[in-house]
């Protein structure tokens, strides 16, 4: 056996020790998680491709709660019912209360904030990237701010006078964001839409550096996207004017926004449907229409009280909107509430049949709504003749009805009634406008109650999780900062 020289071996060991130490020191400890993408891939100078994926994510989260909002708002506003009977809360808590902050009444909240968190992360990503031109950054910023403002607008509608947290872009370990009043929320939303507009305009003629989601149709460049931004801004200002009686400034602001939106009076009735949609699809893994169902399903029903409101066309046929959007079926009676009217606006109604269509789009905002917002604005600014023209453009071209009997001498309340009727028919089961509008014009008391003890709620309530995080007992009304 050879003897290894001690001197030699010691040198060998020294080298081994040193190289081991160096290997260990130089070894990479930043091991990535390859099972899923991580947020730092997004916020650390992301590539154009990664930013595009994040934009797709924002579009995707815009679908958040669309079905959920329609389901609860239609029940709250007696626009419809869920009579499936698998969940007692559908004909219980949702109609007669008490509102459960840990359940449905405290719902339709988290996923919207999750979408906002994604937008905020995207905004961070935009500020850290060097891979976009200034114009592309402006375009992306304008897009993201518009989507964020739209989500806050939906939250402001949901929560009413409870207000909501706005300043949520903070570290997770920080105190929860304070609630602000509904007014402050509207002011914030309005300003954010304006900031978005400015950024979209700064983008000039550049194209969006990401693919535009289905449903956005022709609003696919920053310049055209501004029209969508303005349409939502107009809705926000009209809501602000009516929820909070902010008066002329809001109406004027809404009027300006409408003039810059895609509102058009030409090409009716075809142009009534011009607008931006939630683009559902039957393709695998794509979002699907959450409301559509076979006619045989006993889940969704239109509230029977609507039938009595329906105006008739000159020939005696009912409002064309009503006959195209509903079908009469066998009566469904559950726990003292019943209906025979099925909503079929998202079904394939070709050839007299009516089958579910999971690819049916739901409008985000469309020209038909803009015309009626214009009617509200004109009424608000006391341009009653213009209001009548707006009303008629929808009554005649969408409902097949005769011109309205309103005159410039009619009372404001009569105008409101007529506008809300048209909004209900034109936007049936699209947003839950019967509830929203009744709240805006203080008409909750006029909504029908089916059973003794039933009630109409003025808003959804603060989720239990928000109370818990603030150390408040549920249900809670967190103090609002002005």
């Amino acid at each position: 056996m050879t003897t290894i020289s001690i001197l030699h071996s010691r040198r060998l060991l020294s080298v081994a020790a040193l190289s081991a130490a160096l290997v260990a020191a130089g070894c990479n400890f930043d091991i990535v998680n390859q099972n899923a993408p991580t947020d730092d891939q997004l916020t650390n100078n992301p590539s154009k491709l990664i930013l595009a994926r994040a934009a797709t994510g924002i579009f995707s989260q815009n679908f958040t709660d669309v079905g959920g909002d329609i389901q609860i708002y239609t029940i709250y506003g007696r626009e419809g019912y869920n009579l499936l009977g698998n969940d007692p809360r559908e004909t219980g808590e949702a109609i007669s209360g008490p509102q459960d902050p840990g359940g449905r009444a405290g719902g339709n909240w988290f996923a919207k904030y999750q979408a906002i968190r994604s937008v905020n992360t995207y905004l961070q990503a935009l500020s850290s990237t060097v891979n976009l031109t200034a114009e592309e950054k402006a375009a992306s910023l304008g897009f993201a701010q518009t989507m964020k403002a739209a989500m806050f607008l939906r939250l402001a509608v949901r929560s009413g006078t409870y207000g909501l947290p706005i300043d949520v872009d903070r570290p997770i370990d920080a105190d929860p964001a304070p609630f602000v009043s509904q007014d402050a929320a509207f002011a914030y939303v309005s300003a954010l839409f304006d900031s978005a507009k400015a950024n979209l305009q700064a983008a000039g003629a550049t194209a969006f550096p990401f693919p535009i989601a289905p449903g956005f149709g022709s609003f696919n460049t920053p310049t055209l996207f501004v029209q969508f931004n303005r349409a939502l801004k107009a809705r926000a200002e009209v809501f602000r004017a009516t929820f909070l009686a902010c008066g002329a400034p809001c109406w004027t602001s809404a009027q300006t926004a409408l003039s810059e939106s895609f509102l058009t009076r030409t090409g009716l009735p075809g142009s009534l449907s011009l607008g931006v949609y939630y683009g559902y699809s039957t393709a695998a893994n794509e979002p699907q229409n959450p409301i559509t169902e076979p006619l045989t399903s006993v889940r969704y029903f239109v509230h029977p009280s609507l039938a009595a409101l329906v105006q008739n066309q000159a020939g005696g046929a009912p409002d064309a909107r009503w006959s195209s959007k509903t079908r009469i079926v066998a009566v469904r009676d559950l726990n003292g509430v019943s209906s025979t009217i099925k909503p079929v606006m998202y079904n394939n109604n070709a050839g007299g049949g009516s089958v579910a269509d999971l690819g049916a789009d739901i409008p985000v905002i469309k020209n038909e709504e803009l015309l009626l917002l214009s009617a509200e604005v004109n009424l608000g600014l006391s341009n009653k003749a213009a209001a009548i023209a707006d009303i008629d453009s929808v009554r005649i071209r969408s409902g097949g009805l005769a011109p309205t009997t309103l005159t410039t001498g009619s009372a404001d309340a009569a105008f409101v009634t007529e506008i809300l009727y048209n909004r209900l028919m034109s936007l049936l089961w699209e947003q839950g406008v019967r509830w929203i509008d009744a709240r805006r014009y203080g008409r909750l008391a006029s909504l029908p109650l089916d059973r003794p003890g039933d009630t109409v709620f003025p808003s959804m309530i603060v989720p239990a999780g928000e109370c818990d995080a603030r150390g408040l007992d549920t249900p809670c009304t967190p103090p609002v900062s002005p």
Binding site: M1, A25, V168, E286
Partner: protein, 990 residues
């Protein structure tokens, strides 16, 4: 923090540059002699003989002879061998012959225990409580996996099996639950290699529609791959001061396994064969129907009633009774194990080679467990300064664990039987076909059909090996400097192939009948370390300083292909229409620097030890931060205080150790929803913790170790108090943050308890000896601080059916469920109804030797602890409980109807006769007559889990349906029943 590494490296190099002062060897002489047993005078082989202050080392051969080169003048020779007390003798100048007799170290007080990466200490000098099990004890009665042989033998360790299915599936818990959501397994280290004990679910839960598709898979923990016959010793580092040498993976304790190694001498071959079988140890009876009318009252559908009539008509008007458990778990096929090993050595080479072939047949058809292994351990000296130790083992394990535990489509046998009337025969017809289930009377399944045709196979191939190089840089009478470097790898691949053919009764009604799963797990652990050890003797003091560097990398990839709607008769995963795939990959790296000091002062009366370990890891939020884990311990030995040859040692220790964050906890993930044909990025609901840190366990323990009657009696008592802080917890932030959950560090839990180990050898004579050993363990846990609302941890049970509930001020193991209040009305909320933690546990081992016969037993007693008996709950639900109509039954039915669980929470007290063994060493005169070079022949018969005494109404009070959880829950949901085993052993040595 890179500075620390540089410092570590510099100090190592500094140690390395100490000048070479090895003394020139004097002329010398050769001292030789024979080493024998003090009792009986039989020669002892493999005794290591050393000359104090010299590098010389020798080993005794088969006849106990040794020869060693020693310097002139008076020298001190030291004799040591496993199982014997060390003996030091002075050999006067010029004497060349020295025979010695060694006394047996019956309580293994002189076994060495691990005190650092490369340092050890004799157990009698240990400053912390030790738990040491010899290989002989491990293999006395054959066990499927290594943990089973620890029950009753060590204090402070709790073992629990998920079910009685063949081949493992066991959780080991050391000194209580020390985490809530973190990793809960002890760290396993085999011959210096970090050994993976992961559980990889094969996918059965997906096929049989279990509530928890992964946890209820009853996966095997991969320690099942270890071949118990290779084990030389198992040491369990329980306290933080002991386990802290393994840093932030050690808060659940460390199991250090050493395998057999060669001895100098001519090759010794041992061939062992075992033959035996497993049989059903306990079964659940089903309700007996005394009349047709009674059966018809229970089964009311027209088809059921017609079937009842025809069954009765064929049986003379009476309903038969079938023992359903015996129909399903009837198999008694032979199980066997063949082991061959050879050990020997000459010159500077020693080797140990072993091969095993094991097959355990399950008590259900087509279930079982098999393991093959080949181990080669080689020790080679290179010159006078280097020693190289190589360990390597290749194992293949095969599991077929059947279809049991909870499931929701009646695919699993026990669950099905809970709903099966006892008068319907499940067995196949004479031609091997099965009759269709009778609607209204039976569920759509037949467990015998399932076990005949369905397949749930797992095969694992594994290589574990390492190389350790010792370099004696300096060796003088008063100083020793040694460097030890080691590299190890543990690599395995597990593949599960599951097949649930279309034609099975439970598959037929499904939308997509026929299902196959191919599941893969690939694990790779690599570690290396480099240590410098400097030992000095000055006067009565002996100090050891060691410093080193350790690097560890662990990775695990799992993937699964599942397909449904198979082509009939086909089992490949490309033969279905609906196929889904999953993949997951984790990788972690840890680097540690450490410095340890131990000192034996005042002629080994005072022992002090201290150490500090600094560790960084890729799983921590800050990968550059070093976390420091210190430890201190001390002991004082009083000699002769309580009689001649007695010793009393007081010891105390403090240590800190950690539990690393789980892989991925620091990351906030992005979801990838699809829109317009492409995947977008959105934030997932769970917020990662970019600053996540290891959990930190801080522990004080203290105790007394007594040895008396010249080592014939021993008593060790330990009290420990451990607090885990900085727990990995999950909180719910304000929903407006956009996150649903958040991982964070916080809170505190406490475990404290007593451990007692006592041993007594009342008789120690040449032809008769008796050895009694016992252990006592008692642990209490408490949630000291919980910064989140009380919650149910994941996998804690089934909602209102009894769950573990983490609540400040309560024990971690409390069970909550609906109960009756003082007025007899059901409570509105769940309240505490029990605790799964036993009050205490006692183990008792006896070994009797008379002439050439040996007889051993292991008893295991658990007092208290509660079980959630959902098996009984199912039998109430089906109205087929064997106690139907009795007052006890009525109580349960009423509770069942009120949603109250109290009658289903049962006491887990039991006494088990774990092991019985009888051995006979065939007298030499018969052996010699055989010739063929036969050295010795041993015959034996042994039994495991022979008998259980318990009031528990279920199958086995040791059960954990949801075993793969940090806080184990004694949840009984129709498990694979327990079995007892008998084996005959023939071992021939050449």
């Amino acid at each position: 923090m890179r500075k620390a590494i540089v410092l570590g490296a510099v100090s190592l190099i500094a140690l390395l540059s100490i000048p070479d002062v090895s003394a020139a060897q004097a002329q010398g002489r050769t001292i030789g002699g024979v080493v024998t047993r003090a009792i009986g005078g039989r020669p002892v082989r493999g005794v290591t003989v050393t000359v104090t202050g010299s590098q010389q080392i020798a080993q005794s051969d088969d006849s106990g002879r040794y020869a060693i080169l020693a310097p002139d003048g008076e020298v001190r020779l030291s004799f040591r061998a496993i199982g014997f007390s060390r003996k030091d003798v002075l050999v006067p100048a010029t004497q060349t012959n020295m025979d010695v007799a060694l006394t047996e170290d019956v309580f293994e007080l002189e076994a060495v225990v691990v005190t650092g990466q490369a340092t050890t200490l004799e157990r009698k000098n240990a400053t912390t409580a030790t738990a040491y099990v010899s290989g002989e004890d491990v293999t006395k009665v054959t066990a499927p996996t290594i943990e089973s042989s620890l029950t009753g033998r060590v204090a402070g360790v709790n073992l629990q099996s998920n079910s009685g299915a063949p081949g493992g599936g066991i959780q080991m818990q050391i000194r209580g639950n020390n985490t809530i959501l973190g990793a809960y397994d002890p760290l396993y280290v085999i011959d210096g290699v970090i050994y993976s004990n992961v559980r990889i679910a094969g996918g059965r839960g997906q096929i049989d529609d279990a509530a928890f598709a992964v946890a209820e898979d009853d996966p095997v923990n991969r320690v099942a791959d270890i071949n118990p016959t290779d084990v030389a010793s198992i040491e369990i580092l329980k306290g933080a001061a002991a386990s802290s040498i393994y840093g932030s993976k050690a808060s659940n304790g460390v199991v250090v396994i050493t395998t057999n190694r060669g001895q100098l001498g001519k090759p010794q071959v041992t061939l062992t064969s075992r033959l035996g079988s497993f049989s059903l140890a306990n079964r659940i009876e089903s309700r007996r129907f005394n009349s047709v009318a009674e059966a018809k009252a229970r089964f009311t559908s027209a088809t059921a009633q017609a079937a009842i009539d025809s069954i009765a008509a064929a049986n003379g008007g009476q309903l038969p009774y079938f023992d359903l458990y015996n129909q399903v778990w009837h198999a008694r096929s032979p199980s066997y194990e063949l082991i061959g090993d050879v050990k020997g050595g000459s010159g500077a080479t020693r080797y140990y080679v072993s091969g095993t072939w094991k097959k355990d047949q399950g008590i259900e058809d087509n279930t079982g467990f098999g393991r093959q292994g080949l181990r080669i351990n080689v020790d080679q000296g290179l010159g006078s300064k280097f020693d190289v130790h190589v360990s390597s083992v290749f194992n293949r394990a095969f599991h077929a664990r059947g279809w049991d535990n909870n499931c929701n489509n009646y695919a699993c046998a026990g669950y099905f039987l809970a709903y099966q009337p006892s008068f319907v025969d499940l067995r196949p017809r004479a031609d091997g076909t099965f009759r269709d289930p009778i609607p209204g009377l039976e569920q759509a399944a037949n467990p015998i059909q399932t076990s005949t045709f369905a397949q749930n196979h797992t095969e694992t191939n594994r290589f574990t090996g390492g190389v350790t190089v010792d370099f004696a840089a300096l060796s003088t009478e008063n100083a020793n400097l040694k460097f030890v470097g080691a590299v190890g790898a543990d690599i395995f691949q597990q593949q599960d192939n599951l097949w649930s053919p279309n034609d099975l009764f439970y598959e037929r009604p499904q939308t997509l009948p026929g299902e196959a799963i191919q599941n893969n797990g690939v694990g790779r652990n690599l570690n290396w370390n480099l240590n410098g050890i400097f030992q000095r003797q000055f006067g009565p003091a002996n100090t050891t300083t060691s410093a080193g560097l350790q690097f560890e990398e662990r990775q695990l990839g799992t993937s699964r292909i599942r397909t449904q709607n198979l082509v009939p008769g086909q089992q490949n995963v490309n033969q279905g229409t609906n196929t889904t795939v999953q993949e997951n990959f984790t990788k972690e790296r840890t680097l540690a620097l450490y410095l340890n000091e131990q000192a034996l002062l005042s002629r080994d009366r005072i022992i002090l030890a201290a150490g500090v370990r600094a560790e960084r890891s890729s799983v921590n939020g800050d990968v550059n931060k070093y976390f420091i884990f210190p430890r201190f311990s001390g002991a004082y030995r009083f000699q002769g205080l309580i009689g001649e040859g007695s010793e009393l040692k007081l010891r105390a220790s403090y240590g800190e150790t950690g539990n690393q964050p789980l892989f991925g906890q620091k990351f906030t993930l992005l979801n990838t929803p699809q829109l317009g044909g492409q995947n977008g990025f959105t934030l997932a609901g769970a917020s990662g913790a970019p600053n996540i840190e290891p959990e930190r366990l801080k522990e004080w323990d203290g105790g007394v170790d007594v040895s008396f009657l010249n080592g014939r009696g021993t008593f060790e008592a330990t009290y420990y108090n451990r607090h885990t802080t900085n727990l990995l917890l999950q909180r719910v932030p304000a929903p407006s943050s956009g996150f649903a959950t958040q991982i964070f560090n916080g809170g505190e839990i406490q475990n404290r308890g007593f451990e007692i180990v006592a041993g007594y050898a009342p008789i120690q004579r040449q032809d008769l000896s008796l050895l009694l050993r016992s252990t006592f363990t008692s642990n209490r846990s408490k949630v000291v601080d919980l910064p989140v609302p009380a919650f149910r941890p994941p996998l804690s049970g089934f909602g209102g059916l009894g769950v573990t509930f983490i609540q400040e001020g309560q024990s971690l193991t409390q069970i909550k469920a609906f109960a009756y209040d003082a007025t007899g009305t059901p409570t509105a909320t769940i309240i505490k109804v029990g605790d799964s933690n036993p009050d205490y546990r006692i183990g008792l081992t006896s070994d009797l030797t008379w002439k050439s016969f040996s007889f051993g037993t292991v008893w295991d007693y658990q007092h208290g602890g509660d079980i959630i008996n959902l098996t009984s709950f199912l039998y109430i639900d089906s109205q087929l409980s064997p106690d139907y109509g009795t007052p006890a039954y009525i109580t349960k039915v009423n509770a069942y109807n009120d949603g109250v669980m109290t009658p289903f929470i049962e006491d887990a007290t039991f006494l088990k006769l774990r092991e019985v063994s009888l051995g006979w060493l065939v007298p030499q005169r018969f052996t010699n007559a055989v010739g063929l070079g036969v050295r010795d022949v041993r015959l034996g018969v042994s039994a495991r889990n022979l008998k259980t005494w318990t009031n528990y109404s279920g199958l086995d009070p040791e059960v954990a349906n949801l075993g793969d959880a940090a806080i184990r829950n004694n949840l009984d949901v129709t498990p694979y029943p327990p079995s007892r085993s008998f084996f005959f052993t023939l071992a021939v040595g050449f």
